[in-house]
Structures are given as C-alpha cells and as structure tokens.
C-alpha cells in the first residue's frame, strides 16, 4: 500500500482535467439550478455540443480551432433556446424530463452508425487539438512533478487555461448574482409568481439563466475535448450530468465558489478511492481484495449515488451553502 502514490493521485486529480471540466459544468448548473431553480438534467448535452463542435469543425470542415469554439458557443445557445421554449413555462419537473431526454437524443445521434461519417460513431473523434496547443507558452520539457505523478507540458497548459476559465466563470457569476439580474433570478427560484407580479418577464430571465449555464457547459466540453485530445459519445452519458449535480451540492449550491470547492473535493475522493481500492486489491487487504478492478470502479459510482442521496437529505446546502437561502422546493 503506497500512501505517497495515493496522495499524489488525490492531489493531481483534485486539480486535474476532470476537476476543471466538471467544475465548469457544475458552475453552469449552479446558475441554472442553484440561483434560478431550473432543473437542467441535460448538462452532458451542452458539454457534448462544445466538445463535438470543436472536433467536427477542425477534422471535417478543416477550419481552425477557434471557429470550433465559436460554433460550440452558438450551438449551446441554440440548444438552450430549443429546450427552454417548450418547457420553461411549465413546472420544474418537465424541464428535468425534457433536458435528460434531449441529452440522450444527442448522445444516440453522436454514437450512431448513420452519422459515423461526421461524428465518428462510438469511436468519437481525435486529432483536432493542435490549434489550441500552438498557443502554448510552455517549452516541451516543462514537466511538473508531484511525487510520483508527472504532468507534461501540454497537460499543464490545458490546466492553466482550464483553471483560468473556471476563475473567469466564477467572476462572471459573482458579478451577475450581485447585480439586479441576480436578485430577480433568485426571486424566481423562491417565488416565481411574486416576481411575475412585480412586472418582470419570468420566462426571459429563466431563458437567460438556461443559456448562460449552457455556455458554461460548452466551455466544459471544450476543455475535455482538448485535454483528452479526444471526444467520445460515452463521456457525455447522463451520469456526467449527475456527477456535476453531486459536485454542486457537495460544494454548496447558490454559492459562487461552491462548484469549485465541490469539484476539487469530489475528484480527490473519487480518484483517491479508486487508487486505494486497487492498491488494496493488489496488497490482498481483507474484504477489499474480494473485489476485482471493475467492481472497484463500480463501487466508486455507487458511493457517488449514496453520497448524493445523503447530502440531499442531511445537508442540502453542502459545505458552503446557506440552508435558509435555499429552500429547494417545488411549487
């Protein structure tokens, strides 16, 4: 049992690619769910739109990486409008059902044989990230060592850009929620009818929140695409959305830094558990060594589900949140 290795994995995971990607996705959900009370269960779809926009633009259209980013942002806005128009006038649970359905529609199309020419089927798409790494100011030997773990220059550049995006997203959210706009959306979360009676157009505010959250989702998609240098339909399963929810609720919904704290802790624990269990299996620890590697991976996700339930029941405000602010109730 190599505790130094486990610790190094926890540190690198806490600030690694997944932490950035799901941090951004959770920031998006924070705008939608945390501040506005919209249940978007299809954040994975926005991530997929971002990731695939970049991949398809570069590989199939032969345009530069930055066109891909532009198309991804436009795609996310269109998707949000498409989902919002039929559902935002209805009760919260309808939005949940429609967004989760839309996410599955998009994933099924992305992985289908019929569209394999464009989206690459279940293999996904590769080799599109060079335009991004050309910007790198790091030399090729700029490796970062954290104990036994090594972060190469490309990864390091992705992390720097990714965390800058997270910081920027936090700044945007912070500025917005302390503006009049933020007070209106929080009002919508608490009592939609009250806000409506003040003459505000609730539908438009909800739509703006959905679009903004979707854009953060697309940013998460860009980061995962360039970081993994690969997009794959199975990285955008509904589980991805639910992981982002677990992260948001762990850190604290309706708090600017909630998603950031949540993602750091979540990924340190999630990957730490994985390495711990695998090391335990190799070392022949009692009980743990009854499992195989696949079961260890499954057990982690099981614990995420259990954690999400227990958090929601016993501490819905998470680590940073304020229970009085967040009633989290359906009308």
């Amino acid at each position: 049992m190599d505790w130094g290795y486990i610790f190094a994995v926890m540190v690198t995971s806490a600030f690694g690619l997944q932490a950035i990607v799901f941090g951004l996705a959770a920031i998006g959900i924070n705008v939608q769910f945390g501040y506005t009370g919209l249940l978007n269960f299809g954040q994975a779809a926005f991530m997929a739109v971002g990731g695939y926009a970049v991949a398809v633009t570069v590989v199939e259209l032969g345009l530069s990486f930055w066109w891909g980013v532009l198309f991804g942002l436009i795609g996310a806005v269109l998707l949000a409008l498409l989902l919002g128009v039929p559902t935002l006038r209805l009760r919260a649970d309808y939005l949940a059902i429609v967004t989760i359905a839309a996410a599955e529609i998009i994933r099924l199309i992305l992985r289908s044989v019929a569209f394999k020419e464009i989206f690459g089927g279940s293999d996904g798409k590769q080799a599109f990230a060079d335009g991004f790494f050309e910007l790198s100011f790091l030399s090729a030997d700029a490796d970062l060592r954290i104990g036994p773990a090594v972060v190469n220059d490309r990864q390091l550049f992705t992390y720097i850009v990714g965390w800058s995006l997270v910081a920027l997203a936090c700044l945007v959210v912070w500025l917005l929620v302390r503006s009049p706009w933020g007070r209106v959306v929080k009002g919508i979360r608490e009592d939609e009818d009250a806000v409506r009676s003040l003459g505000k157009n609730v539908f438009v505010y909800k739509m703006q929140a959905l679009v903004l959250g979707g854009i953060f989702g697309a940013l998460a998609g860009f980061v995962t695409a360039v970081g993994a240098q690969n997009v794959n339909p199975d990285s955008f399963k509904t589980d991805a959305t639910f992981f982002a929810y677990a992260i948001l609720i762990l850190g604290g919904a309706a708090r600017v830094f909630g998603p950031v704290l949540g993602t750091v802790i979540f990924w340190a624990l999630f990957q730490g558990t994985d390495v711990f269990l695998r090391e335990g299996i190799d070392a022949g620890l009692p009980i743990i060594s009854l499992m195989d590697g696949t079961q260890a991976a499954v057990l982690r996700v099981m614990l995420v589900g259990l954690g999400l339930m227990l958090l929601m029941i016993y501490r819905p405000q998470g680590i940073l949140g304020d229970r009085r602010e967040l009633a989290l109730d359906a009308r």
């Binding site: 009370g37 249940l39 269960f41 989902l83 128009v85 039929p86 559902t87 209805l90 009760r91 919260a92 649970d93 309808y94 949940a96 059902i97 429609v98 989760i100 359905a101 839309a102 599955e104 529609i105 099924l108 199309i109 289908s112 044989v113 019929a114 589980d239 639910f242 929810y245 677990a246 609720i249 195989d292 696949t294 079961q295 499954v298 057990l299 996700v301 099981m302 995420v304 589900g305 259990l306 954690g307 999400l308 339930m309 227990l310 929601m312 029941i313 016993y314 819905p316 009633a327 989290l328 109730d329 359906a330 009308r331």
Partner: protein, 427 residues
C-alpha cells in the same frame, strides 16, 4: 432516519451476499465461452443451427457447433483472454454478419464470475442477402412487436404515474425497480436453479417488497421531514445511480438470459411470427394491467388512491389514511415495474441497466398520456411502443428511441398536459 436507511441497505447487501454464496456451486462445472446464434429478422429472433465457432487463446484451441436452438458452448481449461471466431462458411443461406468486422471477437476476457461460469459472446447476425419481406408484412410484424413493447412500457409507466399522482414524486429510480424484477427473477432462476415459474412468482413478490421498502425506508421518512419535491427528485437520481451500480457490482455488466424459455422458435401467424414467450408476455401484461385498472376503479382502496391523487389534503380530510394509500401504491408500482422488467428479460436480455435504458421511454409514455393519469399512462405507452417499432421502417433501428424522445419534447410544446391529462395539472 439514517439508521433506517443503513438497516435497509444492510439487509439488501446481506441478502445479495447470501444469494451469491448460495449460487456459487453453479460455477463448479468450470469456465466456458458460449452464446446463442440468432438471426434477427424484423425484430424477431430465429435460432441459427449448425454453425462452427472456434475459440483460441493461451495455447488452447477448441470449437463447437450451434445446436437446434442456436446455442453453442466451448469449455475452457483456464481463465484468461480468448479470441472467438465464427466460421462464416457454415452460416445458412441468406444469413450473414450485420457488422462485417465481427467475424473474430478478440480478447474476450474470462473472469471468475459470481454466478455460473459462462462468458457470453454474441455475433451480430442478420439478413445478409435479398431475403426481403414485403413492406406490409414488415409493418404487421412491427405493429405486433410494438404493441408488445408498449405493454411492457405500460407496466413501468402505470406504477410511475400513480406514484406521481399520489405523492408528486417524479421518481428517476423507477428504472431500477424495473431492473430489479428481472434481476431478482434471474438470480432465483439461473442463479439458484429454481423452476422459472417459481422464480417468476418469487421475483414478483420481491419486486412488490422492494417497492414497499423504497417507500418505507426512504420516501416516507422524507415526506415526514417535509423535504421538497425537487430535493426528492435529486435524491431519486442518487438512488438510481446507487442501485444501478449496486446491481452491476454484484452481477456484472454482461447480458444474461433466463435458463428456461429463452430464445424459443417463432410460430407463424399469417405474416407475423411470435414465440410462445411473446404470447405469454401479451397475456400476462394485459391481465396485470387490467387487474390493476379494475382494482383502482372498483375497490375501496383503489377509490381512495384516486381521491388522494386528486387532492391529498381533501382526501385526508374525508378520513382517508393517505400514508396507507401511498404504501399500497408503492407496492403495486414496485410489482408492476418488476413484472415489466421480468418480461423485458425475454424480449431483450437481463442486464443491470435494462431499466435505466427504458426509463426515458416510460417518461415519454407517461408525459404523452398525461402525468398522473391511469388511462393516459397505458394509452401513452402503447403509442410510444408502436411508434418506436414502426418508425424503424424509415429510420435506422439504432435511432428508434430518438424518435420517441423527440415526440416527448414536441408533445410538451403543443399539449403539455398530455393527450388524456387535464389542463390544470401543469400548474
């Protein structure tokens, strides 16, 4: 409350461990790779006999020929990885691989499983040459299989809908109730070696008990605490994630079949071919749905259920024990969902995520018919089932669910309270 959850979880885990311990003698006959060769024609499966399959790996080479029901099996000396090849020459006329690169399936891992020692390998067989049926024959076959699928969706949808009607909960873990019925039946049947009918009755009773347990251990305490509906919806997401991976943890990710009545030969009824299990599914599903509707329409408890569904506080004021009604609804919902999953285990196979894969279609059905309505749930399910099967005439089969989910979004745009729902329900 935490203690109750932990106690319930502990019970389930101990039960599973006990089952896996009991079932382990089944693997004493050694490791094997096997499978079932079936030609998929318009959604029905016809076994393919007399095809040679070779298994190579770790210095071992063995082969087998598929028998009259398409089953083949190669016993292995060791665990490890093996390459499995189908001899295309031995395939009958008109049958071929639908994915040409799947002649050899490489690096199949054979690991010690909890139940039985068979690693299943499936070859994608289908019509290779011009053995075409007319459009009308295809449409007839698809209509029947669509009706069948619709009835299976309805078993899940009815439970989801009455649970929603009485408690307001949109239960994202309902798919796991569906999987539970299939998995419990499979564990009793293939794992413990019970006769299928005994296993099915056991599976049904366990499903009803599981529905009760869901309510008693989790949802009732949460209602008592006054937890909001959105919070409960997120709890149900957590529960679904937990249960789905819990199933996978104990029984693995591969698809499984019941040990009896799986993959029977079809009987021709004019242009339509149905297996005896298909006929049984029709009868059982219709009887179960009709019985539930009768109970809800005629009995005192059923009337109380509809009263609670209409207005819980008014029902409570009229002297109806609301919690008792909700307990009843969860037991019925669990049993119906479990039955649906058990039958789905025949048309698809049994796997840990079968319920999750059908859940969105159940939601589509319920929304289409009108959330919280009884007739709407059944009506919506039949439409979704038919729609999914019949659209495969035009669009690729892999995208058939896309059409159904698009319908869900469109129906919300034009008629959000569903076809049979009432306008006020959308709130």
């Amino acid at each position: 409350m935490l203690r109750r959850i932990l106690a319930a979880l502990g019970t389930v885990i101990i039960a599973f461990l006990a089952l896996s311990f009991l079932a382990s003698p089944a693997s004493a006959d050694g490791q094997a790779i096997g499978g079932k060769l079936e030609n998929r024609v318009d959604g029905t499966k016809v076994p393919v006999a007399g095809v040679e399959i070779t298994v190579v790996g770790g210095g071992f080479e063995g082969s087998a020929t598929s028998d009259a029901v398409g089953v083949w099996r190669v016993e292995l000396p060791d665990l490890g990885t093996y390459d499995v090849t189908i001899n295309v020459e031995t395939l009958p006329e008109g049958v071929g691989l639908t994915e040409a690169d799947k002649v050899t399936i490489e690096q199949v891992p054979v690991k010690p499983p909890l139940f039985g020692g068979l690693k299943t390998v499936t070859f994608p067989l289908g019509v290779s040459t011009a053995v075409t049926t007319s459009l009308w024959e295809q449409a007839a076959q698809l209509t029947v299989s669509g009706l069948e699928f619709g009835l299976l969706i309805a078993l899940g949808a009815l439970g989801l809908s009455i649970i929603y009607g009485t408690t307001g909960l949109v239960n994202f873990a309902h798919g796991e109730l569906i999987s539970f019925g299939a998995l419990a039946t499979w564990v009793l049947n293939a794992g413990l070696g019970l006769n299928f009918f005994i296993a099915a009755i056991g599976g049904l009773l366990l499903s009803a008990a599981f529905g009760w347990l869901n309510n008693a251990a989790l949802w009732r305490p949460l209602r008592k605490r006054g937890t909001g509906l959105i919070a409960m919806m997120i709890v149900s997401i957590g529960l679904a994630l937990f249960l789905r991976n819990f199933y996978q943890f104990f029984i693995g990710a591969d698809k499984k079949s019941y040990s009896e009545y799986a993959g029977m030969a079809g009987i021709a009824f004019g242009p339509v071919s149905l297996t005896p299990t298909d006929l049984a599914i029709f009868v059982v599903a219709i009887v179960a749905l009709a019985a539930t509707v009768l109970v809800l329409a005629k009995t005192r408890l059923g009337k109380a259920t509809r009263a609670v569904s209409d207005n819980p506080s008014l029902a409570a004021g009229a002297g109806i024990n609301v919690e008792r009604v909700i307990t009843f609804v969860w037991i019925i919902g669990g049993a119906l969902a479990g039955l649906g999953g058990m039958l789905l285990g025949f048309t698809q196979q049994v796997s840990f995520q079968m319920g999750f894969q059908i859940l969105l279609l159940v939601f589509a059905a319920v929304t289409l018919g009108g959330l919280g309505t009884i007739a709407g749930a059944i009506f919506g399910s039949i439409i979704v089932g038919l729609f999914i099967q019949l659209t495969t005439l035009i669009i690729p089969t892999e995208l058939k669910n896309v059409g159904a989910l698009l319908v869900l979004i469109i129906i919300l745009l034009v008629r959000p309270y569903g076809l049979l729902g009432r306008r006020e329900r959308i709130g």
